[in-house]
């Protein structure tokens, strides 16, 4: 049984001619359909150029507009012609002028001969095939589409909306189960004749004339009705992007196309000289019969769609700028922010760095400069420590840092004396883990040796700012993971809090903590706080502190001789 080809051509006639010659030289009769929109001069020259090939014919021309019935009518006519003119044709392969055969025709024929009476046509029920263009899948079959989507988008959309509102639905002809799939197929003469000679053909045709993109559903649906054995896949490698537009192959795809083992690929960029020179290309005989496997190609193009629709989380650049307020995660990776810890433990940063593998920065948002880990003046990504530059776009500073360092966990210190303009981000980013010991700002004031009367204003300012920060963190729509303790609460059990903090950075339960960092001497702090109160400034964020509390905390910071069962 021989193989015949129906080729649909509407542009790039030089390339199309090359392809026709290729099929013809492989022993396939070719029936060509040329879009009736193509001007006569071009058409005549194309016909004349192929004059030397006996088994190449041209079928009645139809106007083929994307998504409309013309393509199906053209295909029907061409198939009919082909089957009538060439009685030896047992199968028909539908191709376009920009379909490039990757393997010799002989290999395709051998492959087909191995599965006699099998139709290769991708065909799935509408419920199973998500289709993005216009968001229409099932409705392709139940609404009417008299207007071209590409040319008359407004009318198209308006008419769809109207039908949806009124609730008109077309009845699908009895005996048909709508299927769709790639428009490029290879069907047997038996199946095609059954489709073309179906007693109900006029009724079906009339129905499909108002279905949207019927070239992806007419043969797919009718093959289901008539075929004896269907392999639901296309022999033509063709990938679609998120808009339903075919991906294009270029010279640099030569290797993945070769390895795909596919018989035909589309679309090929017309100037992809390397592809046209290299294909078709015989597969290695020693490897035996190579079957198409599109894994690599699928992966590359699926990734492209993913990149275009979802992108790289946490990246803000000139072609990706999502609205932060709607974003799920803002920074590229989880990070921890600690407020108050370094006031209580002077060596906290070094201690934390030793306990974890994280990069531990000082106060990144300090007034004087960004205190990067190890006191660097410039950090990864060539991020400057200049406070002005940082504050000019405080959120951008953080998202930049997190993007460049997303391979390593980042921690930084924060406090009410720092630039507060990233408050909102810290509260709303699902990647932010915020640890606060509230009221710890009182410790440096206490240690400064100045009297309560002298520091009263400063204390009030810090408390106000910290309170504002806590409010932002506790907003109902905030997504950060919060751990907020008053100074008094924290002193109740510093070890457990620090253990949780370390565990969270490690992402699992880390080893039990040994020595805790050294705490400043807090004896006298309660008195100092009382004096602040006496000045009329009530430090309500510290919680209630007593002298014993501090002493007890020092005792608990010694390693325990037994393990307390905390989570």
């Amino acid at each position: 049984m021989s193989l015949g080809v129906v080729m649909l051509v509407h542009t790039d006639f030089d390339r199309a001619e090359l392809m026709v010659r290729h099929w013809a030289e492989g022993g396939c009769p070719v029936m060509i359909h040329v879009d009736s929109d193509v001007d006569d001069t071009t058409y005549d020259r194309f016909v004349a150029n192929l004059d030397d090939l006996a088994d190449v014919r041209f079928s009645t021309r139809h106007r083929c507009e994307w998504g409309m019935w013309g393509l199906v009518a053209a295909t029907q006519d061409a198939v009919q012609h082909l089957l009538t003119d060439f009685e030896q044709v047992g199968r028909v392969f539908l191709a376009s002028g920009s379909c490039l055969p990757l393997r010799p025709i002989s290999e395709l024929r051998a492959f087909l001969d191995a599965s006699p009476q099998t139709d290769f046509i991708e065909s799935a029920t509408t419920a199973d095939v998500p289709w993005t263009v216009g968001g229409l899948d099932r409705e392709r079959f139940t609404l009417r589409f008299p207007f071209a989507w590409k040319r008359r988008r407004r009318l198209f959309d308006g008419y769809v909306r109207l039908q949806q509102i009124i609730g008109i639905k077309r009845r699908i002809p009895k005996g048909l189960m709508p299927h769709m799939g790639s428009q490029w197929w290879c069907l047997t003469r038996t199946t095609l004749e059954a489709i073309l000679n179906d007693p109900n053909r006029r009724r079906y045709d009339r129905y499909f004339q108002r279905v949207w993109i019927p070239d992806e559903s007419y043969f797919q649906t009718l093959a289901r009705k008539h075929a004896a054995r269907i392999q639901s896949r296309s022999l033509t490698l063709s990938k679609f992007d998120f808009q339903g537009k075919p991906h294009i192959f270029y010279d640099d795809h030569v290797e993945i196309l070769r390895r795909s083992g596919c018989f035909v690929a589309r679309k090929i960029w017309p100037n992809a000289q390397v592809l046209y020179e290299n294909f078709p290309c015989a597969t290695d005989k020693a490897a035996g019969a190579v079957r198409p496997s599109t894994g690599t190609v699928d992966r590359i193009f699926d990734k492209a769609v993913e990149r275009r629709t979802r992108g790289r989380a946490g990246l803000y650049m000139h072609s990706r700028f999502p609205n932060m307020e709607k974003a799920n995660g803002i920074a590229a990776a989880p990070f921890s922010v600690m407020q108050g810890f370094d006031a209580l433990f002077p060596g906290f940063q070094n201690w934390l760095a030793l306990q974890t593998e994280a990069t531990v920065h000082g106060h990144l948002y300090a007034k004087d400069k960004a205190h990067f880990a190890d006191g660097a003046e410039v950090f990864r990504g060539a991020l400057s420590d200049s406070a002005r530059l940082r504050d000019y776009n405080a959120q951008g500073f953080l998202t930049n840092l997190m993007w460049t360092t997303r391979d390593q966990y980042q921690c930084f210190m924060f406090g009410p004396a720092d630039t507060q303009s990233i408050r909102w981000l810290l509260a709303h980013d699902t990647n932010a883990r915020v640890w606060v010991i509230s009221g710890a700002w009182s410790i440096p004031l206490f240690l400064s040796g100045r009297s309560a009367a002298e520091v009263r204003t400063e204390a009030a300012r810090l408390q106000r700012r910290e309170n504002q920060f806590l409010k932002t963190l506790r907003a109902p729509d905030a997504h950060a993971r919060l751990h907020i303790y008053t100074l008094a609460d924290f002193l109740e059990n510093p070890r457990d809090v620090l253990q949780m903090l370390i565990d969270q950075i490690g992402g699992h339960k880390a080893h039990a903590l040994g020595q805790l960092p050294e705490m400043v001497d807090l004896s006298g702090l309660p008195v100092f706080l009382q004096e602040l109160k006496n000045q009329g400034m009530h430090p309500f964020l510290t919680g209630h502190l007593s002298e014993e509390m501090h002493r007890r905390a020092t005792v608990v910071s010694e390693p325990r001789s037994y393990v307390v069962g905390h989570k």
Partner: protein, 309 residues
């Protein structure tokens, strides 16, 4: 503006055009032409703003160049945009056109294997009319004055370092474009006055229509829809980079000239900043990245393949 060499009759519908103004840039011209010819530009529309270094004569001799000249004030013609808008309206209607300076070198995904025609065809098939590229300032390791540029040479053999991750973005709600600042110019020259740091956002490659116009340099266009070259829902649109070969030994003398001439943006404010700073600084730092190719820039997140694969 008067024509010096008009070869526009050669322009065919599928030509990719390049528009550019220059002034005393003779030393850069040979490599510039070479670079863009290799990339697939087929006709150059150039305006010479009063060069006296022989560059204009050199350009007029090129077979694929149409050249005009003017001695008018650069600043008063919207930094040369008035001249180019005129040429674009007249010759570029319906063409893909790249508008760049002589020290800007366009890089886009797959530019090592696919010519600009492939990009243009793909954009057109995707119904995209404009293509964004951020300006990436390139600099040498060591003193800028030590990077001695030779006529015809590849400037990125000398200035092959860049800042990989310190760019900040803001949305311009009126024109809908992004306003990007950062890089070595913000880090070294504008750390104390970041608001004045030069804008790095550019939209250099456009399927031109005579109704289009650039608003401020190539930073933004009208109609405003052309400025939406970025994904707003998390997706990445395909984008490129303009490698900016500014920091070579030619920088120092240029700064003095331009600061005095005061015809650039805001009366040459940017140049005055360089002039008042140490204008032969070492820009390189420990976290500078050495340029390899477009794939590196894409991996760093400075440009994106988007949906093009």
């Amino acid at each position: 503006m008067i024509p010096v060499q008009d070869r526009t009759a050669q322009i065919t519908p599928s030509d990719i055009l390049l528009c550019c103004t220059f002034r005393n840039e003779d030393i850069r011209l040979p490599f510039f032409l070479d670079y863009y010819r290799k990339l697939g530009v087929t006709h150059f529309l150039l305006v010479d703003n009063g060069s006296d270094d022989g560059g204009a004569a050199y350009m007029a001799d090129q077979p694929d160049v149409s050249l005009w000249k003017t001695d008018a004030h650069y600043g008063k013609s919207r930094y040369g945009m008035d001249w180019l808008t005129y040429l674009q309206g007249k010759y570029a209607h319906g063409h893909w056109v790249l508008t760049v300076d002589v020290d800007e070198f366009f890089v886009y995904p797959f530019c090592d294997t696919r010519p600009m025609r492939a990009l243009a065809d793909w954009l057109e098939a995707s119904e995209v009319r404009s293509f964004g590229a951020m300006m990436l300032d390139m600099y040498p390791k060591g003193q800028v004055s030590d990077a001695v540029y030779q006529r015809g040479a590849d400037p990125f053999k000398l200035a092959n370092w860049f800042d990989p991750g310190n760019y900040t973005l803001k949305r311009n709600d009126f024109y809908r474009n992004l306003w990007i600042q950062g890089g070595p110019r913000a880090r070294v020259f504008f750390a104390e006055k970041p608001k004045q740091a030069p804008a790095l956002n550019k939209i250099p490659f456009v399927k031109w229509d005579r109704d289009f116009t650039y608003v401020s340099s190539t930073h933004m266009l009208l109609p405003r829809g052309l400025n939406l070259v970025y994904g707003q829902n998390g997706g990445e649109k395909t984008s490129g980079i303009l490698l900016h070969a500014k920091f070579l030994n030619t920088f120092g003398p240029r700064v003095s000239q331009e600061a005095e001439r005061a015809e650039h943006y805001s009366a040459g404010r940017e140049y005055k900043s360089y002039a008042s700073a140490d204008n032969d600084p070492e820009i390189w730092c420990q976290w500078s990245e050495q340029y390899l190719n477009w794939r590196q820039l894409e991996a760093l997140g400075l440009m994106s393949k988007g949906n093009w694969a």
